[in-house]
Symmetry: D2
Subunit: 102 residues, 4 copies
Amino acid sequence: MSATHGHAGQSHCLRLDNEARANARRRLLSVRGHVEGILRMLDDDGVYCVDVLKQVKAVEGALDKVGDLVLRSHLRDHVVTAHERGDTDEIVEELMEVLKYR
Amino acid sequence: MSATHGHAGQSHCLRLDNEARANARRRLLSVRGHVEGILRMLDDDGVYCVDVLKQVKAVEGALDKVGDLVLRSHLRDHVVTAHERGDTDEIVEELMEVLKYR
Amino acid sequence: MSATHGHAGQSHCLRLDNEARANARRRLLSVRGHVEGILRMLDDDGVYCVDVLKQVKAVEGALDKVGDLVLRSHLRDHVVTAHERGDTDEIVEELMEVLKYR
Amino acid sequence: MSATHGHAGQSHCLRLDNEARANARRRLLSVRGHVEGILRMLDDDGVYCVDVLKQVKAVEGALDKVGDLVLRSHLRDHVVTAHERGDTDEIVEELMEVLKYR
């Protein structure tokens, strides 16, 4: 990682794998459709709170799956090779930070 | 609650409050924009995994806020009056079920 | 709720139901035993990280169940009657606050 | 990793680092004390539900910290060297599995 770069990922050798990227895109298009579905539900002024809540949780579940596939890709492509590359500290702290939000 | 209805919310007296509904819609439009932002990130074939992960977590945080405002509205408008209405069992079980997904 | 009290629960009429209390105690004794089991695992200097992690998650799952039973009891005994009692604001904010930690 | 072993950790070379192990033990002793504190709260038959819930969440927060320190140790000592060792598949799937419970 170059000293002029703010985090491990700005190194040119670390990028999201093409297949995982295509897969994430497909799932996010579905997430966007699902969010639009909730927006339509909200046009009905008789909509029930718990039905909205359930749809919000379902979208979060779909986003968790996007997160999982990106995380698995990151682990396989970048984390398991950190020691060889010599950026263990950055990779580990960055990962701990992003996992905190789960 | 009518016996022909599958859950507490299909009762005509239980509906999401107008202000909460408008507020949820505003936030969901912003969530949709955020999802579109991640889709644009994925067009860059050099995008870094952890940057995608962070944005996914941020969208989940925004959805949590939508969920919180709908939940607070449900508690204030429907749960605290369940005993008076006589549908305590349905309201409590339905709420426990939806909170499980958090 | 008396003005001299700091939160809704210090009112003498709001207390954890005896059966839920006995049930929570039983489960917490089992949680304590499980924590002691992890402490014993740690005496083995060859213990594997992921085995410890799995046990920590299992204890958190058991604590979630204690939380669920106390929460259900609170909803049934105190939240659904808040409107009648006239402490809706305190009850709702207190509950939103405690659910945030989930 | 030997074929007679059920998971990556049963390999003799993968063990929880001594410092992390001592640190986890210290924190778990405190968790056990905290659980005993909740058990004493439950002896008071006037205890308020939400006070119990808050303590349960606090213990879960303390356990999350134990989990974090064990996870960081696992990442630093085993995950970043998986490619060199040649057990990337096992290490990644095992980690994804244990992170699912968060």
